[in-house]
């Protein structure tokens, strides 16, 4: 990274509600939001937004026909738009990560093609089958016309979107980028993962915990406004955090089942620290991507290898223990949570019911909300296909 890039606003919608504060409060409350998914998906546990309607958050017409992923994305973008009323629309680009890319719309549209005559097919539903449409809907809704890029890399999509956003800023494609990720609860995909034995069969299923038994499905969207420190200053905006480094690499194809190996995650963390010119001991907080799958062990090994253990090791939080796995949104949601930790000086505890897994290397998952000065935070994400991605955030005071 060559610039001094900052996050000057966040837009958050998750099972915890809207806004970074609600997210942080839910994490600090430590009560997992997983519930039985209901009749549509018996045996599944999900942390979803109950009765979500985008119009409850944005009083604009035209939202009802959008896919749930597009609606979530637009709701997350809305708070950012309030600070950009005077910006030239060309000066704002959009980069959105999505893991499933409107897969549910693909399934719905396919069923329409089976059950309706071709002339009665819903053209709007067809449009929503195309993975870059949620990013396009953001651009249309808020008029941001700098550029639009969609990135897909399973659970690492959102952090990969942040990485790309930084690259596009460095290329001076626009002075501001709205970047992050979005994915809705995707029942068809979750049913497949359930049949593969990857979903939690009981709740809570807690990341890094002894009793973890699989993934809890989640959903949400989180968008961050990225710009240079100078540009934010010029607009009279106080940055929330500095985006100091980004890194990511794959395992060489992977089987799509197991996620990245610990060596790959450790390499990404080393690259991140080197780029940020920080030592492992400078990191105060790690927002883990652990999702209660067997792959948590690989992440724990890598974190232990890089950060060690004991009082000098960073505190670790596991947002997916509360929110579930929301794929494209997960990484940016964890980043928003880390920013709230910097702002409040409070790091959430491990989720209620957590029991340490004696087979994993020890990590500092606090048992209660901990007061701590968070200067530097690492946010991790990983994909089932073997990608590990990470970003390093610094508090405004450390900028």
């Amino acid at each position: 990274m060559t610039g001094h890039w900052v996050i000057s606003a966040t837009g958050v919608i998750s099972a915890a509600g809207a806004g970074g504060e609600a997210l942080h409060q839910a994490l600090c409350a430590a009560a997992p939001l997983a519930r039985p998914a209901g009749d549509d998906a018996p045996g599944l546990f999900t942390a979803s937004l109950q009765d979500f309607k985008a119009k409850d958050y944005i009083q604009r017409r035209g939202l009802r026909d959008l896919s749930r992923t597009s609606q979530l994305a637009c709701v997350a973008a809305f708070p950012l738009s309030r600070g950009l009323e005077n910006a030239d629309p060309v000066d704002v680009g959009v980069v959105l990560g999505t893991g499933w890319g409107c897969l549910e719309s693909v399934v719905d549209f396919e069923w329409e093609t089976c059950s309706l005559k071709p002339r009665f097919l819903n053209p709007l539903l067809f449009a929503e089958t195309v993975p870059n449409v949620p990013a396009g809907q953001i651009s249309i809704f808020f008029g941001w016309s700098g550029f639009s890029l969609t990135v897909s890399c399973s659970g690492a999509s959102g952090l990969e979107a942040l990485r790309d956003a930084v690259e596009l800023l460095e290329e001076q494609r626009s002075p501001m980028v709205v970047a992050g990720g979005a994915d809705a609860i995707n029942v068809p995909a979750l049913r497949v993962l359930q049949s593969d034995g990857k979903m939690a069969s009981t709740a809570p299923s807690l990341p890094m915990g002894r009793d973890r038994n699989g993934i809890v499905g989640g959903e949400g969207a989180c968008l961050l406004l990225l710009e240079s420190a100078d540009h934010a200053h010029g607009r009279g905006v106080q940055p929330l955090a500095r985006l100091r480094a980004t890194a990511g690499r794959s395992d060489g194809g992977g089987d799509g089942q197991t996620g990245p190996r610990s060596a790959n995650i450790a390499n990404v963390l080393r690259e991140l620290l080197e780029q940020a010119e920080l030592k492992a001991s400078d990191v105060d907080l790690v927002a883990s991507s652990a999702d209660a799958s067997p792959a948590d062990g690989e992440e724990a090994l890598a974190l232990h290898e890089i950060f060690g253990e004991g009082a000098d090791a960073p505190l670790v939080m596991t947002p997916k223990g509360i929110l579930g796995e929301s794929w494209g949104a997960s990484g940016p949601l964890a980043a928003a949570a880390a920013i709230e930790c910097m702002r409040t000086g409070q790091v959430p505890p491990r989720p209620q019911g957590f029991v340490t897994d004696p087979h994993l290397p020890p990590l500092r998952l606090p048992s209660e909300t901990t007061n701590a000065q968070v200067r530097n935070a690492v946010v991790l994400a990983r994909s089932a296909g073997g990608q590990a991605s990470a970003v390093l955030l610094s508090s405004p005071g450390a900028c």
């Binding site: 396919e110 069923w111 093609t113 053209p123 396009g136 700098g146 995909a189 194809g253 990608q387």
Partner: protein, 397 residues
Amino acid sequence: MGVITPIGQDLDSFWSALQTGKQGAAPVRSFDTSDLKTHVGCEVDYELPEALRPHVLGGRCTELALLSVIQAVEQAGAEAQLRGAADVAVVVGTTMGDVATFEQDRLAHRERQASVQELSSLAHRPLDVMGRSVASLYGLTGPVMTVPNACAAGAYALGRAASMVSRGQVRMALAVGCEGFSRLAFLGFQRLGAMSADRCRPFSRNRPGLLLGEGAAALVVETEETARRRGASIRGFVDGFGLSCDAFHITGPHPEGHGAARAMQDALTRAGIAPEKIDYINAHGTGTPLNDKMESLALRRVFPDDASRPPLSSIKALTGHMMGAAGAVEAAASLLALEHGVIPPTWNWEEADPDCDVDCVPNEPRAAELRHVLSNSYAFGGNNASLLLSSPTTGPS
């Protein structure tokens, strides 16, 4: 570079088809169209070598991607440099990804909703499966990136790959655009009223619309220095990659072509090349009334001087719209045009359209000294991309 298209499955046959006007259009074979309004598409008949099968983590789209990649890597003589490398990126552009297996599985059971088993062919082939398959083929451990930017995705893939190389993030990148023939896309475009019933006639009066296609192209991207050091034959330079977004309509372009013009201007600015230096434009040219009118307007906006406005042509008349593959295949066609000094024409053109007041090189290849070419790609979501490609003899800007 390597291509697999409805009109040619390697560079030579592809280029020859562009010169002779070989039509990719034929009655659709992948699924029954008897209850549909149109029945023609541009599909690829191919055979997958057994040796590739273990690396095919997805379906038809992945197979097409891999077939184009092995051609490109062989042609670039780059296999030794790739194998097991951590400093090589894979950047894949696609629209629908690997949905074809799901669609095929569903054809036998259209009376009921999809079963978990049928859904698994979709969920087990997420959008990043093509990139992972390419990484698996060569044991690559560098960045694997998927940009599902619809019909501009192939151009995005090449543009992002070139950016990663030029910034020194990676030593080399494999840029791939790929798309399998999709029943859902066929029905969707038909419902939008965007399809032709017989041929695609870009820039021609009364043009009926697009034909859906499939295919893939792969390009090996590296710095000039790296290529020269290893004695590689350079096919061309990626001098500029312009981006913009219409922020106007989710499926239709801005009617005045503002965004398309901005993407072309962005590519020119980034390359540091004046508009009058552009010798040819490979158009997005889908053959729909809206796109071709808009693109013509955008062209006149960027090149206002009638005398120096470059000619443009659309190869989609032959290949059909290969969606996520289109931008990469058309970049390959542009590089071949630079190499051969011949503009591939817009075949099937019948009559001048006052809405498309441009020189679209109708029906006859045209010899020309080509140094700099723009290749345009536009997509749902108002995504616009323009690649500025330069001849290897001209050198980078």
